[in-house]
């Protein structure tokens, strides 16, 4: 345990490790000190001067972001002096600001709006006859626009590119009130992680072209989720407008992705909005597919399974939930079964400034989960085995054309490529269900349901669970059954996974 320092912030006593910054200690006291340039994922700059606080026995106001705690320190963030210092900063930040909130994408999630509302002046003292600083909008790169007029020069973007991405293509150009963020004349802001500057920007100065004018911030429903772009398992928030995913933003998890996600993950939401979904169970009568209700569909599957013997093969998507994959394995347990998943490979793109963080070549969000449940990476072998198998269960892999003499049960979000399935069961995508993924380091992480399922689609664990003796009632129950059954997950519980997950093997009483 590190040495603890005791201090008082706004009359709340807190104990924090030595070396903690006042701004972080304040969070523990339940106090958010207004700030712009400070960001926990970036080196301290101390330039916006917004987080001015009063510290007893210190003559001048101090910035909370660059001041370390000291034993017995008494911090007053709401004293008259501190407040007037911050009001002064806000007034100055606004004199050259265009106040174009009605057409700004940031409006509603803008820290300049929030803090001005909280402690800014009700009106300006800046003469309307003075011209405001004007610079044209600049195209910084594939997905980033720079609107210099809104910029408050907090330099978060500059520090991100320099110290985190380690590709210093941005700088502060010019001096005084002529200053603006400049991009290297021979470069573009096209680093595979550069989209983070848009999230880091506390105002509407750096904008995503992809999200430009798509939605107002207050129209968005936000859901904690896990990125499906690769096996890194970055924590994200899905932003939905009217049940359509319109944006993915990073969600802080210091163990996995800190505060960042890559541009691949950021853009990896279009598949979630695809329209060609299977909406009802379809059974094959002769050569026709007929929509049926779940009772009939499940009966049909039971009949198929009971009539079959010998070997079974499961061909699964590494985007399927751990719970669904577990119930698939449980269902096929009485067969001589093999399971495999197919991994799409791409280019790896590390974020240099953060250890163990990269867009991974394996674009498989739950490959590790599948592996822990006994699914193999040898997809070709599984396809070969499928030829002789009595039953082939395909989970959400519509690109696979299965050749088999047995029966094909297809559980998926969209219709399969070849229609040789005896039955097609509509499955909820990860956006429409609760569940878990296991990232490449064995971290089990929950994602949450962001919208209802289309028509009759159901989560994989529900569909497959119905076919077992004890159907689980929720993803949570399904996970806990699995934790009681599979060694890798033993000791874990859905409830304690929380919002940031847990490493497999971290639970209590796990055999080595």
């Amino acid at each position: 345990m590190a040495d603890l320092v005791n201090l008082t912030i706004d009359e709340v006593q807190v104990s924090v490790p030595k070396g903690t910054l006042v701004i972080e200690a304040a969070k523990q006291a339940g106090v958010l000190v207004p700030h712009y340039c400070y960001h926990p994922g970036l080196p301290v700059a101390g330039v916006c001067r917004m987080c001015l606080v009063e510290i007893e026995k210190t003559p001048k106001l101090q910035i909370a972001c660059a001041t370390q705690v000291a034993e017995g320190m008494v911090v007053k963030t709401r004293s008259g002096q501190a407040k007037s210092g911050r009001t002064g900063v806000l007034e100055l930040l606004l004199i050259n600001h265009p106040l174009d909130c009605p057409i700004c994408d940031q409006a509603g999630e803008c820290e300049l709006q929030d803090f001005t509302f909280q402690e800014g002046r009700p009106s300006t003292r800046y003469s309307p006859t003075y011209p405001k600083r004007f610079n044209p909008v600049e195209d910084f790169g594939p997905d980033v626009l720079y609107v210099p007029n809104r910029c408050i020069l907090c330099t978060r973007c500059v520090r991100f590119m320099e110290d985190v991405a380690k590709e210093p293509v941005l700088n502060v150009s010019e001096r005084g009130d002529r200053a603006f963020i400049g991009v290297h004349p021979d470069a573009q802001l096209d680093h595979p992680w550069s989209g983070n500057v848009v999230d880091l920007c506390p105002v509407g100065s750096l904008l995503s072209k992809d999200f430009l004018h798509k939605a107002r911030a207050w129209e968005l429903d936000k859901t904690a989720s896990v990125c499906t772009g690769c096996s890194q398992g970055c924590n994200v928030t899905l932003d939905l407008r009217d049940d359509t995913v319109v944006r993915i933003r990073p969600r802080a998890n210091v163990e996995v992705n800190r505060y960042f996600i890559c541009d691949h993950g950021r853009g990896h939401y279009r598949w979630m909005n695809r329209g060609d979904r299977v909406e009802a169970p379809l059974v094959k009568d002769g050569t026709d597919l007929r929509a049926v209700d779940w009772d009939e569909a499940l009966d049909r599957v039971r009949t198929i399974l009971q009539g079959a013997g010998g070997s079974a093969v499961a061909l699964v998507s590494p985007k399927a939930s751990t719970e669904g994959l577990y119930y698939a394995r449980k269902l096929l347990a009485r067969f001589n079964w093999t399971g495999a998943f197919q991994v799409v490979m791409g280019e790896e793109a590390p974020l240099s400034g953060v250890p163990n963080l990269a867009l991974r070549a394996e674009r498989a969000p739950n490959g590790k989960g599948a592996e822990l449940l006994g699914y193999s990476r040898d997809y070709a072998a599984a396809l070969k085995a499928a030829e002789q198998a009595a039953v082939v269960l395909v989970i959400d892999d519509p690109e696979t054309a299965v050749k088999t003499s047995g029966q094909v049960i297809y559980l998926g979000t969209a219709a399969p490529a070849s229609l040789n399935a005896s039955i097609i069961l509509p499955m909820a995508s990860m956006v429409e269900e609760d569940g878990t993924y296991v990232n490449r380091d064995g971290r089990v992480q929950r994602y949450f349901q962001a919208r209802g399922t289309p028509a009759m689609a159901r989560p994989a664990w529900w569909v497959l669970g119905q076919l077992t003796d004890a159907a689980p009632e929720s993803a949570s129950a399904a996970f806990d059954v699995m934790a009681g059954d599979v060694d890798a997950f033993r000791g874990m519980s859905y409830a304690t996974l929380g919002l940031t997950g847990q490493r497999t093997g971290a639970g209590a009483g796990v055999p080595a």
């Binding site: 101390g46 106001l61 210092g85 900063v89 100055l92 004199i95 408050i152 020069l153 001096r175 009130d177």
Partner: protein
């Protein structure tokens, strides 16, 4: 004064003894005048003893802050774990100050000698002399002098580099100067860490002004007690100091006086007083960043750290700017504000936006479009710009505005009421 005028009898000529003497610029000429004896003596001493001697002399930083030099040297780590650096601040850019320029122009070896002694005292193997970009002649003289001194191998194991600035006032701020030496944008750094802990290249660093270091050889050679005896008023201010006198004055130039000398004697006697028919109106005693003094305050003021503070200003860099009764204080202050607005590094909000806004308000007042409430706004804005930023550039802009409005309010009001004709501000 020494150059271009002969020294006034009331001057105490120590640093400026060889101003105007071209032979003193050369290595041989300097040695002939007793140069490098102090360095030889210092290199034979224990570094701590050198520091102790300077500490005892009472020498204080001549760059503006007046921090005791010897004490500053003791902040360097006692146990040397890696390289130590010495930075010499020769980025003299404070409006109204031109003393370091003269030291480098006429006695480059005095600076080099002082630099080497200081480097020895703080156990630095490398010293950087950061010379203002616009100083073309001092640069040439220093380059020549360093080459000659290096050829004579006088510095022992100490390496001295000259580094030329690119023309930014802010690079005279010590941490901005270090960033600039490192090849980065000249932005001041947040302190702590202080330079003695993590300075240039993240290593323990001491930074001293040119005039401070030029005084060091004299202290080593003649002893701390001699230096301490140079004192006319407060015992906390010892030695001599160069004052750069400019503005509405008959004989502008550098004068060297013992600290505690009356400012009025500098203005009226040494520098020949006002132009015929003119009277003194105001004076900025320590470079453009310090409060303006009225005539009464100026005439009472004693030139040492305590004396100028008692008069309501700061000794600063010793740049004495004199205004006679023809001066338009509103215009003068606007020019200063504009300078700071131009030079702000753009890091801190108060400075970036505040200096520019101050300038706009001042310009509007001069254009005859000001309002009475602008004066309160200026004062409030200046208060907001004081003591809240990384460095003191913002404070420096606010200081003349506050003292100007407080002491010369009627001149501002005359523009606002229309009593005075508007000035076209380009």
């Amino acid at each position: 004064m020494g150059y271009p005028q002969k020294p006034h009898p009331k001057e105490t000529v120590v640093l400026s003894e060889y101003f105007g003497d071209p032979e003193a610029r050369t290595y041989r000429g300097w040695v002939k005048r007793g140069g490098y004896e102090a360095l030889k003596k210092a290199l034979g001493m224990d570094p701590n003893a050198v520091t102790e001697e300077v500490k005892n002399s009472g020498l204080r930083g001549r760059g503006g802050a007046g921090f005791p030099t010897g004490l500053k040297w003791t902040f360097m780590p006692k146990e040397k774990k890696g390289p130590h650096y010495l930075c010499v601040n020769a980025d003299e850019s404070e409006p109204g100050t031109f003393k370091d320029r003269e030291i480098m122009r006429w006695t480059p070896h005095a600076l080099l000698e002082g630099t080497a002694i200081a480097a020895h005292a703080i156990r630095a193997e490398v010293a950087y002399i950061y010379i203002r970009g616009e100083f073309t002649e001092p640069w040439t003289v220093m380059t020549q002098a360093l080459a000659e001194a290096n050829a004579a191998k006088v510095f022992g194991n100490i390496t001295i580099h000259l580094h030329r600035g690119a023309g930014a006032y802010i690079c005279g701020e010590e941490t901005a100067l270090m960033n600039s030496i490192e090849g980065k944008r000249g932005n001041p750094r947040i302190k702590p860490p202080f330079p003695a802990v993590a300075g240039v290249f993240g290593k323990p660093t001491t930074i001293n002004n040119v005039e401070t270091l030029a005084a060091v050889p004299h202290i080593i050679k003649r002893g701390a007690d001699w230096y301490k005896s140079l004192c006319l008023s407060s015992p906390k201010s010892t030695g001599t100091k160069l004052f750069s006198v400019c503005g509405h004055i008959q004989k502008p130039g550098n004068v060297e006086v013992t600290l505690g000398f009356p400012l009025k004697d500098v203005i009226y006697e040494m520098c020949g007083g006002m132009r015929p028919g003119r009277t003194l109106k105001a004076c900025i005693p320590g470079g453009s960043s310090v409060p303006i003094l009225t005539r009464e305050e100026t005439e009472k003021c004693l030139l040492d750290y305590e004396g100028v503070a008692a008069a309501g200003s700061l000794l600063g860099s010793g740049g004495v700017i004199v205004f006679d009764d023809s001066a338009d204080m509103v215009y003068q202050i606007m020019r200063l504000a504009r300078f700071y607005a131009h030079e702000s590094c753009a890091q801190c909000t108060q400075c970036r936006e505040g200096t520019a806004w101050t300038t706009k308000i001042m310009e509007r007042i001069l254009a005859g479009k000001g309002q009475m409430k602008d004066l309160d706004l200026l004062l409030d804005l200046s208060e907001n710009m004081t003591g809240k930023t990384i460095c003191v550039l913002s404070d420096s802009c606010a200081t003349p505005v506050i003292s100007g409005i407080t002491k010369f309010r009627s001149e501002f009001e005359d523009y606002i009421t229309g009593k005075k004709r508007p000035v076209m501000v380009a």
